[in-house]
Symmetry: D2
Subunit: 436 residues, 4 copies
């Protein structure tokens, strides 16, 4: 997480202020439940909310205390006592630090995920808008980087939409994975705290109770969460690489938006670099890499060890902040992407009709020409196009052997681009529903 | 995938025979749909099933043809024609090789996942059985590898059950991810084949139609699939590491089953190594590692490139075969795990009651002793235990200052193990339901 | 490791036959040393070589024995005794299985590395040949996929040469890392075997003695080894991606060799796919992925656990076999690469001289024109080229304001490609020495 | 990189101040060379050093300029001109931003590596000191977490020393990998700048000239660098895991130092957690994970793309700062590690002599007892120890069948620990030389 690739709302989730606020909420909700159970006075629970419910916790002061106590949760509780007064002694009863830390981490991840889901919605909206706009914009489909058959630019974007819709669904599943709460005390036995406290806090914070926590919330949940972010990052990479390809000098079918005042744009119009999508490619590598330590975090020793903690202090913010930034950046790229339909068509026609050779080959065989002969006929005309720059259609029309098998109309029909786009509506209906 | 870590059913899914059988089914179902649409004769579709529906494809013969044609699908189709006769010319109409290859790969992954799900059910059954058996077997809970508070061995296993139940659910989700079919022709536009063929084949094979395939099924699906296997492998590692710890010479609370005849077992009873769970730890590393190339496979160029193929030829079999083997091995380890409740209790009592010091400390403060004094009282008795080998309970009972605050009964109550296990029922009900 | 991506010499290193042959050599050399030390009879050591020195070990027989003994080294020793007779009892004295297994693994890795080094030499030779051939073949250099400044195709290949020369050196270092031998007995204390035996075996096998083995050779060595292979794979990916880019339909500056008879080559001359380099891209992902489990293997428990073993049974063969195949395939691609200098020049001139705009801009400012004015002058001519298809040089020559600052000769000089290639000799001398 | 796991010297290397200082040095040294070549006035080169050689660059001011120019190097040069005056126009002649950025990044990595090397020396010193101290401290060697044969604690530490000495050497090699300089201009052809400038700057900064840079320094170098850090991190993990194991409650052969005032230390003497080494385990996971994006960075497109940049802005600081912190923390742990030789001996004797059963077995066979009989004899005595808590030596001494084969003296000799440590001197000499 570095400022250059960060956005404030996501960064705020990981600030000390947010953390202490969440710690307070966990403690205060737990007090409510303890009061309901008669373990602590109801008045104390009330006082805690009244005195500290709107308080801004003094991060510097807590740091000072921690410098002495060497324990972050105790430092916080000490500071809380400074604000709340004597009733603070009823806070944290029967709980362990892990109850607070693990539940807080999950609350932060849930909130981070809510931002990511909102990001995803914006990206999906941008993709849908541009897909519909270019539903019928003919472009050459490429396999292996080589011209294959025509498709439309809208179909490319519809694919991206479908992919990110899957990513959105994965993100929802990942959110469920980590939306759990543990208030179960040392080694998770509830020896010192009633399980109903956990249920209350979970409900109050929009979480569910972790079925079996063992002082920690099990880390397979977080492994799945960060692995999911890694997959989403990989989809960001895919679309970014697509755009980088389209912006290549020789292709130039689309470009990242380049503001009029941007350095060098007009004196060197040939030198507009896809720096945003290149940047996204790199960020994707980073987000992906965090999946590995998250998976290694799963095998904690016995009921818990703390090896996961240093990892999560890093990848918690790093992965979510970077992915938030990347999704927003990609959305901007898609929204403002400059598309060049004429170049798409020019590229498609680069080899003067050769792109239709396969259809011609098929038509010849269907017209009764043997596979070998058909191949030979197509080949001799194709080579004229390839080597002499002739036009494929024109050559075919004057090739007697071809004409013996196919009429002019039949030949011309093989060059009809509509043939390739006739099911675009079907594809769009699949992706966007009937409204598409 | 090496024989040592393979089981035949999973290996069979990845055999050439299985692959060609699935290829045939895809082609034959597609022919049915094409026949319904009037594109090919109904009689041809029927003939294909009749002639080849039960045929065993000759892998060696197909290899011979491929050596000439340099194309695996064409080689298969040529061989199919040898079996079916002239009607074979109606096979594969309007399709690309990718339609066959990608759909086949997904069918293989689906079938592999069904085996993994069955494996998982066996593991869950074993865990449940052993968890119920040891629901009340007291053992020391450990944080940081250090004695913390008592729990039960059943709770440990219930945790593992809950974790693998999550893994099972993730596996179901992963199965859905890759249970899709693409019969969409070059660059996925359906130019040469009606989308209804895809729907028919999908249904016949228990798949859904891929909303937008671009000659390939998008690889974010497979990234998610293999990432999920990586997470499951990490959970296997966790339980394996737990067992390895329990089998340590100094701990010896549980052991992998060691058959009576096994080399060295009785002449060196102290030297029974947890080799199965160590092996599982290594296998987990491997399965986890496959997530990374699977994620790198997502960003194919434009409509498709073939860089994913070599990766998948390796990790498809490697990941599923290894995970199948690992789940089965772990199930065997759990089923036959030798548990030593007496050692668990002996270990718990290793420091003659010190494990209860925190409860005593709390009781003293609740009895009105100041935090500092309570600490000092516990400390001076604890040090006698630690340094002189005294018994903590006995020391407390004769410490006048302690007795001024707490009665004998109150002190003894702090050493009651039932205090720690009183919510085990709650935990089991959460994990196994009311039947638990 | 799958046959499709395997070459026989490397595969042979990992065969059971090779393994047992190496085991024998370790045992027989150890016997020699033990005989020299008077621990076993000299006659026995001699007999062992005589009876088994040229023997072909019966893998099936050893498997049968292992099925009973459940121990691979004991099975081998039993079979060896069948060949050698009573003197076989002097084999393996004071050694542990790990002495044999770990030393054998390193011997296999050393031999595998020797093949990789030979592969690397062939690749370097191919790169050098083609680099010299195309030393002066002008091509456009690209940053961000966008035309930047001219360079030569030879410089591109010289870069690749320099990169693989570094890889070769890394491979040599990696070979040293794992060229060690351990014959140190249980937990590595030499309690049962004299350290001089280790020295003897090490020397005989071209290894050095591991300073401290603890029953196992420490796995940081192997982590470094496999990480190095991962870096080499990444360099393979780089060159492969370069070639894939050059073969793109719109670029087509170079192509993988396409044999005349290859399917579709002439009927669809526009559809020659860079399938070899795409395949290499995927193989690179695999080789890279093995670095991660190799690093996780380092932290074995105490003196040793066996979790590394299952990982190494897989990645030992997989990484070396795949890298060997990849290096050879890449060498073939480089050797036969079809290069199109005319297309390179045509692409360079795609924007009719705009590629020289930066030099013109600089010349104007050096001639005293203010930066703003120079920019405006270049811009107005550049836009005519960009939007109206004019020629940049011609436009500049007739632009009065430009001509006020620069003479025709001065302007024309800015379009001289020799300006960009004047230091190619320097670069080649750096890479290939004076002979280059 | 987060403050909690950072040390100031390493952090300082990555500060904007350091970066701008290095940028200045690169530019000023380049000016010197350009002046020597007569390209810029010597006076200008001199002025630049005089005016800015000791200047503190105003980071905030540069940020302000960058907010306008959107280009970091231009912003810096603009600010430099504010300091230097008109002569600043001679700065950066013929160079590209990459020349500055890439060379600076390598300078930062070199300086970071120098800190890491110093860290490593301290760690090695600590390991050597403790190894010599405990050269003869007998402890049980463990394979699979199970007691195997005796060794000494010094041998354990000597192994760690040898491992980190290898790591140090790897770090030196890694330093060489990235100690290169590129001042080669756009696409690296030296069209606008004489190669002698590069040589001069390289020499001035303690680097070597990159043989072929293509606007960027090739990223295989950095991949190798970060992979090496990943291996070092894995060695840190190994030693950390060893210590965590030794501190387990049931083992307790060594402990991280616990200061007298540390919370809970004396009231709960059984509850001292190895939190430092657990933390190191997590940090190792992070440093290791950075190898993967670094390897993915290698395959930049053509002469360069900028996808590597976002990755390196993160992992450059993150990997070096974290590793520096980890090495220092580990050094502290080693220096202050509390070692319990008595517990080591007690653990070794846990099974009352059974640890020597293998030697007895061997002695019996050497005394002529058949393997089967020897096994049976050992077994029946071992089981008495295992099941009835008898002493192995005493049982053997009174077992007639055993005594028929071995004298009392012979039996007692098998229980001599000196047998296992007789080659410790050899091992130490290998690791530490004759001084050891």
């Amino acid at each position: 997480m570095i400022p250059r690739y960060s956005r404030p709302d996501m960064v705020a989730i990981w600030s000390p202020e947010s953390k202490f606020r969440i710690w307070f909420e966990i403690e205060a909700h737990a007090c409510d439940a303890l009061a309901d159970l008669g373990v602590v006075p109801k008045s104390a629970a009330k006082t805690i909310w009244e005195k500290a419910g709107d308080a801004k916790f003094d991060v510097q002061r807590i740091d000072e205390i921690e410098a002495v106590t060497k324990h972050d949760v105790i430092a916080f509780l000490t500071h809380l006592a400074e604000i709340v007064g004597p009733d603070a002694r009823f806070v944290h009863q029967g709980m362990t630090s892990s109850d607070v830390l693990d539940t807080c981490f999950n609350v932060q991840l849930v909130r981070a995920t809510d931002i990511l889901l909102a990001d995803m919605d914006k990206l999906l909206a941008a993709l849908k808008k541009r897909a519909l706009e270019h539903k019928d914009t003919i472009t050459i489909g490429r396999s292996h980087g080589i011209h294959a058959e025509p498709t439309t630019f809208g179909v490319k974007l519809a694919q991206a939409y479908a992919e990110f819709e899957r990513c959105r669904k994965r993100l929802e599943t990942a959110r469920e994975e980590i939306a759990t709460c543990a208030i179960s005390g040392a080694v998770g036995t509830f020896a010192n705290i009633d399980p109903r406290v956990e249920d209350h806090v979970a409900k109050a914070l929009g979480l569910t109770s972790e079925p079996v926590s063992t002082q920690v919330i099990p880390r397979d949940r977080h492994a799945m969460y960060f692995a999911t972010l890694g997959v989403i990052a990989s989809s960001i990479e895919r679309l970014s690489v697509e755009i980088r390809h389209l912006q290549r000098t020789e292709v130039l079918e689309a470009e990242e938006y380049f503001s009029p005042g941007q350095k060098g744009s007009s004196a060197m119009p040939h030198k507009r670099n896809p720096v945003l999508t290149e940047n996204l490619t790199g960020l994707a590598r980073m987000v992906r890499s965090y999946a590995m330590p998250a998976m290694e975090n799963v095998a904690l020793w016995h009921e818990r060890d703390i090896s996961h903690s240093s990892v999560e202090r890093m990848i918690g913010p790093d992965a979510t902040v970077t992915l938030d930034f990347a999704l927003a950046r990609l959305t901007g790229v898609v929204e403002k992407l400059v598309v060049y339909p004429e170049t798409m068509m020019a590229n498609l026609n680069k080899f003067r009709g050769l792109v239709h050779s396969q259809r011609v080959l098929l038509a010849l065989t269907q017209a009764g020409v043997s596979r070998e002969d058909a191949y030979r006929l197509v080949q001799r005309n194709a080579m004229k196009v390839w080597e002499e720059g002739k036009d494929f259609l024109e050559e075919l029309l004057v090739d007697k052997d071809v004409r013996n098998a196919l009429s002019e109309e039949e030949i011309r029909e093989k060059f009809d681009l509509g043939y390739h786009t006739k099911h675009v509506d079907t594809i769009f209906a699949r992706v966007f529903g009937t409204e598409g």
